[in-house]
């Protein structure tokens, strides 16, 4: 099982703050798996080039590997400060 978190604009668009699923593979594959399970809207939203992915709270690329127990987060560009 992995935990997937969504923040800010993305959390609102998907109407989802957190979900858990069985997945092992890379980040690009996780996007595809989420689109398959949750529908095409998710695929479109998560496919946006601007979306940042973090694995265990460190920014990760599309080819980074996700394994059981990981915390994966998707979020838009940050705007703090």
């Amino acid at each position: 099982m992995i935990t997937v978190l969504f923040f800010a604009r993305l959390r609102e668009a998907l109407d989802c703050r957190e979900l858990r699923l069985d997945y092992a593979g890379d980040v690009a594959g996780l996007r595809g798996e989420l689109a398959r399970q949750k529908g095409e809207v998710w695929g479109e939203i998560l496919g946006d080039d601007n979306i940042i992915c973090a694995i265990n709270q460190a920014v990760a690329t599309d080819s980074a590997v996700v394994k059981a127990g990981d915390e994966v987060a998707f979020f838009p560009p940050v705007t703090g400060g």
Binding site: Q57, A73, F75, V78, T79, G80, G81
Partner: protein, 156 residues
């Protein structure tokens, strides 16, 4: 190097934070204070909601401070970032740096702020005077401000 990173709902007092940093060893303290503006992109903003990614926020700020500590000789760095509801005129963020020499304190403070703007997972949502809400977009100028630091320095 004395490091303090806080993400909190409550306001902060910059005099207390300056005092906490000013051990008798350090001669220079530079503080950046971000204050919420009443207007943004031409609109009157009534309220701002600041969301963050607990855990990653703190670790990303610590990473930025560590990088600054490798680049300059610093005695202390304090970063406080508020989350939750903030109103115009209220303080949002504090970056305070103590060093023996003011040039280093200025540079490190600006560096931490420029990186925080681009790397720390905070998101601002504005509620306008008419009741509508909108997420604030990231700025190209912030990315540029950060990129400056990876270029060779002009004169040391």
């Amino acid at each position: 190097m004395q490091i303090s990173v806080r993400v909190q709902h409550e306001d902060f007092n910059v005099a207390d934070e300056s005092r906490r940093l000013s051990s008798t060893a350090s001669g220079a303290i530079v503080q950046f204070i971000g204050v919420m503006r009443e207007r943004n992109d031409g609109d009157q903003v009534a309220l701002m909601e600041l969301e963050h990614y607990p855990g990653m926020t703190e670790s990303s700020i610590r990473r930025i401070i560590d990088t600054a500590g490798q680049r300059w000789t610093l005695q202390g760095v304090t970063v406080i970032h508020r989350v939750g509801e903030i109103r115009p005129g209220e303080q949002i963020v504090l970056v305070a740096v103590a060093a023996a020499h003011r040039g280093e304190a200025f540079a490190a403070c600006e560096f931490v702020m420029d990186y925080l703007k681009c790397e720390a997972p905070f998101w601002k949502k504005e509620r306008l005077a008419d009741g509508s809400s909108r997420w604030v977009d990231s700025r190209e100028s912030d990315t540029q401000a950060r990129q400056r630091w990876s270029q060779p320095e002009p004169n040391g």
